[in-house]
Amino acid sequence: MMNRRMRRAIAGTLALTALGATACTDTTVEPKSAVTEANAFTSPLAYQQFLARVYSGLAISGQQGPAGRGDIQGIDEGFSQYVRLLWSAQQLPSDETVLGWGDVGLPELNTQLWGSANPFLVALYYRVFFQVSMANEFLRQTADARLAERGVAAGLQAEIQTYRAEARFLRALSYYHGMDLFGSIPLVDETFPVGSTPPQQATRQQIYDFVVSELTAIIPNLPASTPQNYGRATRAAGQMLLAKVYLNAQVYTGTPRWSEARQAVEQVIASPHTLDPNPRRPFMADNHTSPEIIFPVIQDGVRTRTWGGMTFIIHASCGGNQMQDSNFGISGCWWGLRMKPQAFSRFSAGDGRAATFFTSGQTVAVASIGDWFAGIPAAKFSNRTSGGAAGSDPTHVDTDFPMFRLADAYLMYAEAVVRGGGGNPALALQYVNALRERAFGNNANNITAPQLTLDFILDERSRELLWEGHRRQDLVRFGLFTGGTYLWSWKGGTQAGVATAAFRNLYPLPASELVANPNLTQNPGY
């Protein structure tokens, strides 16, 4: 028989071993240094902060400035910023711009030779949908039931209704970009839960209808254009977006909407925005004070930093041995962006809008895309204020990106009128001449009514809105972006320019997206 000591020893051993085993079987460890879904909205400020993030999706690339904790993956984070990608897609293949760097996928954007794996186009597509996803999540988190569940105060609930309209504006804005660039894309709204199955592809018409109906529904709920609301989606911004969609409706749906475009633009012009008496200020570090800007993407050298956006445009517009970086309020030039000769030669002597063009040591012709000294840098944007002060940081700029501004609305009005959208031709002429008077500093270069043709408007748009991210869309609307009617340097890959196929009016859907979402059909030609 075992003695007591033995039994005690056995029992003790087993008890100790079992104690170890019973000590813990709970594997849960909640994050400590992170705010989870469970407690994110305990603060009433969270709704503002989340909406601000939907806005900042246009301005920054991640939650760490200038780069870090990126929003999207698969591309260098600095490249992944919304404005930089949008701007590159609208400018580089056009007759206005070349970018001389050899980064993978970049050279082919200058020449309309891109394919469906082009990293910039892939990232642009995902940027569009990142905005859509953020807006959808905001709408889900602010649904009435969720607000009631969290016991949100009535006053805040009312304010959140405005926020929801703004989120829907931002979603519509990105769908407009997606429709403009990629054509038929999925239509995902807040009714699709996170982690849902791949959505169906919508037609371009369906996206168009969605954007129009959304804007029509929310414009009354958007905030007014006041200095306090600078940077937010105001009613004027909503009308401007609607006008843009109508102006390009023929491209999107086959049916022109000139009259609707003209009416929406009239609303914009009727808003408190006015032309800036200083024609340079809308492009400088203090452009947040310009009355002309209807919808900016805000940047700040210290508080809203990115390697994309205006930081990219201003740094890349500077180079060579003669341009002084400090003249632009920056430290260090990136030697990238110049004009194609067609854009440069569109300006006549005395046009103040050409005053910043830096010609010394540069050739007009672009013999080589990679050679900084081939092509004239436009140097339109600056990180110095209209008063000459440098921005708050020499690397990251204070200059906001003027996505929509009143001068554009003036030219859109003129175009809608000339294209038969009704309205007042004399007013159209007056608007165009207002821009020319501001540019030349006198009325000697004003045009007459017969001179206000579509060709003139297209050229004037290039002069007034040079490098502002409109050019590809304009050329597509005028039927000149592809084909052989209008050739420019490096169109199709040669310096003289060759005709390109019409399918390049649309960008390809990303090759990776076709795999992730088997419901999608690639755009023809790719």
Binding site: I10, A46, A52, P227
Partner: protein, 1005 residues
């Protein structure tokens, strides 16, 4: 609930209680005693038989046989690998005879004790693919990190260091099994698993084992196949490395050992850049605008930042034993400079191993304690890159320059920085304190013969302090307007382990064979608290890394990471006459990293061994041992980031607020998650053969394996709009590693009586990796590709791809059209630069008549097809000579220095860059980053190690003098710095490999 989980566990214990022995009766006696080897170490599992009764010896070597008939008897002891012993005794009725049976090893390769997870086994009865390397076989010379000890020694184990002394080091056992989780094996030191938190235990970018003095390691055991590793469940998929440190030996008089070594290292291969004349010619021809900037010096920039690096190491160890106590204390000091200034490492380490037997030897308590302070000097960022870029026509010093250093005029953003200034002014250093230890208690439970209770309590505490400082006077700071910057990173890591388990060696046979059971519980908790500070625009440079002055921008971060792993495990080994060997194990792991729906995972294994040489039909044959092994196992990998299952609303930092309602406000962003995230699962099948020949001094082993990893933790694109980002980390995709491994050991010459002795080891392993799928739902659609492998040149340029059907990280490049000379075809402009258009230079893979990034293809990959190692050890009289050779075949390397600087465009920058000499061959006018011309065959043969020793007696105690050369020579066709350029095969300004000569003396005092 809980009880059910332990049902079998308790049932086992209950069953054991009934097995208590009965008291002796009349007419019989008791034979009991201890079986030991000739070094007095107790032998477990020895079959002791007398008068038809059989028993197995316990862990302490003890055995008891009762009811043995009185009279003369022969007591026989038998164990695999040992010469059988028979002792005649005469037993009186009622007598209890005490015996000590001493057994001597007959066949080393069978008798050797092999460490396994939660136990040990004799090599002859192991059923998995397990390799053990011990002190005398280790690589010699200046070795900072323990894993280098077994480089080229174990088949299928790839060890890749980054050439820096004490630098990061990667171990791959049978190829990479993961893409986004870690592919590093689990490392267990004296029973204490380390690094179970993601990256936990690492110290500021250095190898996690640097705290451990390699001289203090007794054996390193690699569990290569999954059946051996499966007892570690969700940490076992990448294989397991078991490290056993040296302990005091039983019955050993106190002994003091002292070893001193000094070393000198020189740089071997460097990037081949243009010399001053070539550089001047390139600038004058291709960027005449820049010619005015050139000076007339002839500076070898690599020579300026390089140096002959010296090192020294002292190890003092005191060991010994008393009756029931063994101890070993060690003290280690190492100081090794790197061949590029100011790289270097300094370490002070102590170690204590203490073992105490208590309670009539029933309780054995072992204490292992290690403490170390590592001081690392890292190369400041950009040093090597700027050394390559800096023009050789320019001077190092310039009296008019800031701080007396020369800088290119114009202060352009892209101008190279003077590397000598970086080397001398910038600081990047880390100090790591590491305390590591555990207490193991092993208790032979009285009353139940063969039952042992084990407890293991361990801790691993790391405190890291990393600081960088770039003074405002540095060119890089001035040109960016940064104005001086400093960073601090303080991280505390704590890892605590509690493990309890029972082992039961049935004292008699259970059925036809011997049974051994192990079952237990393990609890690991890891936490990390990191504080980080980054400051730019410093008010003064005066404080250096010793203070943080007022700064233009200062940001602080804190990050707490915690994780838990809770496990239940069990194993059964069944051995029928050393002929049929069976092993099963099962582990159930719960991890805080798994989503609630998948909180627990089950990881089983089964293996069997058949010693054919024991069968009658082979007994008279050529084999002294022939064992066929087969195993199947499922292991897991949970070495991925914490909190993947939680939607976090990530706040913006102060640089990413947004202007809303009249002010800049912080923002919050929800991240994309998969709430059901779980372990990666690896299924492994292994078939192996161990063999030894009669009359031939050759033993060997062959293994064939197939590993398939599914549910890869993979960050993959998701359908746009369906989640909160375009990529989500989820369990998707699968990959496979298949291969064969061969190990041979030849005692060619015995070297008796001071004659020539020669032992040769040879190993070879072939592994083929293939990514099977990324998104199984996308079958039939265009192949999904994920780009990876960022390189220098352009921004965000990637050179590798993950795509089904290709090995992971295959290079993803254009196929270059080549002329008859094998070089890329040329279309020269008047100046002589190659301006061939993309369509002339590259093959149009998709046939759309234009060359764009869609024309890249997967081409070669960085993993070697074959890894071959050879070690020889020769002795003659008092001399010994050892060397290690290593070869990789079929590994490819992207020569990034050549692709980035091998174009005349680079002399056209605001300040010209020096060019890589490949431009003289290609003539490229512009960069061709994606050309397969830069993907080079990195196959090589290298003599890693050559040691000559001389043994002699000093004061009648053994002493040895030795000299070692490391990295003696490398034969390769690769043109860059080092064909082992990391696991990713990207040679981009990597630290050059040093050739090191070490001389040393070992003494006993």
């Amino acid at each position: 609930m809980l009880m059910r989980r332990f049902g079998s566990y308790l049932a086992l214990a209950a069953g054991l209680l009934g097995a208590a022995p009965l008291a002796a009766q009349g007419g019989t006696g008791t034979v009991r005693g201890r079986v030991v080897d000739d070094g007095q170490r107790p032998l477990q599992g020895v079959t002791v038989s007398v008068a038809g009764k059989t028993v197995l010896s316990s862990a302490s070597g003890r055995f008891v046989l009762t009811e043995v008939p009185a009279g003369p008897q022969a007591v026989k002891a038998r164990r695999l690998g040992f010469a059988p012993v028979s002792q005649d005794v005469t037993l009186l009725a009622g007598q209890t005879l005490d015996l000590e049976l001493v057994m001597t090893i007959q066949e080393v390769q069978l008798a050797e004790i092999v460490t396994t997870g939660y136990g040990e086994q004799t090599a002859g009865s192991v059923t998995g693919a397990v390799s053990q390397v011990s002190t005398e076989e280790f690589n010699k010379g200046r070795i900072v990190s323990p894993a280098e000890l077994i480089a080229a020694k174990v088949p299928g184990v790839q060890i890749v260091d980054n050439n820096e002394p004490g630098g990061g080091l990667a171990i791959r056992i049978r190829g990479a099994t993961s893409i986004n989780a870690s592919s590093e094996p689990l490392i267990v030191i004296d029973g204490m698993p380390i690094g179970t938190s993601n990256g936990g235990g690492t110290s500021a970018g250095r190898d996690a084992l640097n705290f451990l003095n390699p001289n203090e390691i007794e054996t390193i055991t690699v569990l290569r196949d999954a059946s051996a590793a499966a007892i570690y469940g969700a940490n076992g998929a990448n294989g397991v490395v078991l490290v056993t440190t040296k302990a005091g030996k039983a019955r050993q008089a106190p002994q003091v050992e002292y070893t001193v070594t000094t070393s000198a290292s020189e740089v071997t291969r460097l990037p081949t850049m243009l010399n001053a004349d070539q550089f001047r010619a390139a600038v004058t021809t291709f960027a005449p605008n820049n010619a005015a900037q050139l000076r007339n010096e002839n500076t070898n920039w690599f020579g300026q930042v390089g140096r002959t690096a010296f090192g020294q190491e002292h190890t003092l160890a005191v060991s010994g034993s008393s009756d029931r106590t063994t101890y070993r204390l060690s003290l280690n000091y190492l100081n090794q400079d790197g061949v590029i200034q100011p790289a270097g490492v300094e370490r002070i380490g102590i170690g204590i191993n203490l073992s105490q037997r208590l309670l009539n030897d029933r309780l054995n308590v072992k204490l292992n304690l290690r403490g170390a302070r590592n001081s690392d000097q890292f190369l400041p960022g950009g040093l090597l890159g700027n050394t390559a870029q800096m023009g050789p026509t320019q001077p190092v010093f310039d009296a008019a320059g800031v701080g007396g250093f020369y800088d290119w005029p114009g202060n352009a953003l892209t101008s190279p920085d003077n590397p000598v200034a970086i080397s001398q002014l910038a600081v990047d250093r880390g100090i790591t304190f590491r305390g590591f230890g555990n207490v193991q208690a092993q208790y032979s439970v009285p009353g139940i013969e063969g039952l042992t209770a084990n407890a293991n309590l361990g801790f691993d505490v790391t405190d890291v302090d990393r600081a960088t400082f770039d003074p405002s006077t540095l060119h890089a700071q001035r040109k960016t307007g940064n104005g001086g910057s400093t960073t601090r990173r303080n991280q505390s890591l704590v890892n605590a382990v509690v493990e309890t388990y029972l082992t039961y060696n049935a004292p008699g046979k259970v059925g036809p064979g011997a049974l051994e059971l192990t079952g237990g519980y393990s609890y690991t908790r890891s936490s990390s608290n990191e504080l980080r500070l980054e400051a730019n625009g410093l008010a003064t440079d005066f404080l250096g890394i010793n203070g943080v002055p007022a700064a233009r921008v200062a940001q602080n971060f804190q990050d707490i990471q915690e994780s838990k792993l809770i496990s239940f495990f069990g194993r059964a080994n069944y051995n029928i006459d050393d002929k049929y060997l069976l092993a099963f194990s099962l582990r159930r792991d719960g991890s805080s990293r798994f989503g609630p729906a998948n909180a627990w995972g089950m990881f089983p294994s089964a293996s069997l061994g058949w010693r054919l040489s024991e069968e009658s039909f082979l007994k008279g044959g050529a084999f002294s041992d022939l064992k066929l092994r087969a195993s199947w196992a499922r292991t897991g990998n949970q070495a991925f980031a914490n909190y993947q299952q939680y939607v976090a609303f990530l706040p913006s930092d102060q640089g990413t607020s947004y202007f809303f309602n009249g002010q800049f406000i912080p923002t919050i962003r929800p991240n994309a998650v998969d709430p059901n995230i779980k372990w990666e699962a690896t299924r492994t099948v292994n078939v192996g053969l161990d063999f030894a020949f009669k009359g031939l001094p050759v033993t060997g082993t062959i293994d064939v394996y197939d590993k398939e990893t599914s549910d890869l933790i993979f960050t993959v694109p998701v359908a746009a709009g369906t989640n909160l980002s375009n990529f989500v980390t989820t369990n998707i995709g699968s990959m496979r590693n298949r291969g064969v491994e061969l190990g041979l050991s030849i005692r060619a010459l015995e070297g008796r009586n001071g004659g020539l002795g020669w032992t040769a080891d040879f190993n070879a392993a072939r592994n083929q990796n293939e990514l099977l799928s990324i998104n199984p739902a996308a079958v039939g659609a265009a192949a999904q590709r994920i780009l990876t492998g960022e390189v220098a040149g352009g921004v965000g340029t990637t050179i590798q791809v993950l795509q089904p059907g290709s090995p992971v990280n295959s290079f993803f490049v254009y196929q270059t059209r080549r002329g008859p000379d094998g070089l890329p075809i040329r279309v020269n402009n008047p100046a002589g630069a190659n301006v061939a258009s993309d369509s002339a230079l590259y093959v149009d893979q998709n046939g759309d008549n234009r060359i764009n990034v869609d024309d890249r293809r997967a081409f070669r990959d960085p993993a070697p097809r074959w890894i071959i190692g050879h070690s020889s050890y020769l002795t003659y009289r008092k001399f010994d000579l050892g060397f290690t050779l290593r070869a990789w075949l079929g590994n490819y390397v992207y020569n990034n220095v050549a692709s980035n600087l091998g174009t005349y465009a680079e002399v056209g920058r605001a300040s010209p860059y020096n060019l890589h000499t490949s431009v003289l061959q290609t003539g490229f006018a512009g960069p061709q980053y994606l050309s397969d011309f830069y993907v080079e065959d990195g196959s090589f043969l290298r003599m890693d190690n050559l040691t000559l020793g001389y043994s002699f007696d000093l004061n009648r105690k053994p002493a040895r003098f030795f000299i070692t050369a490391q990295n003696v020579f490398t034969i390769t066709g690769y043109s860059g710095v080092d064909p082992t350029a990391g696991l990713r095969g990207i040679d981009n300004n990597i630290f050059p490999r040093a050739r090191t000569f070490t001389g040393g003396l070992s003494l006993r005092l």
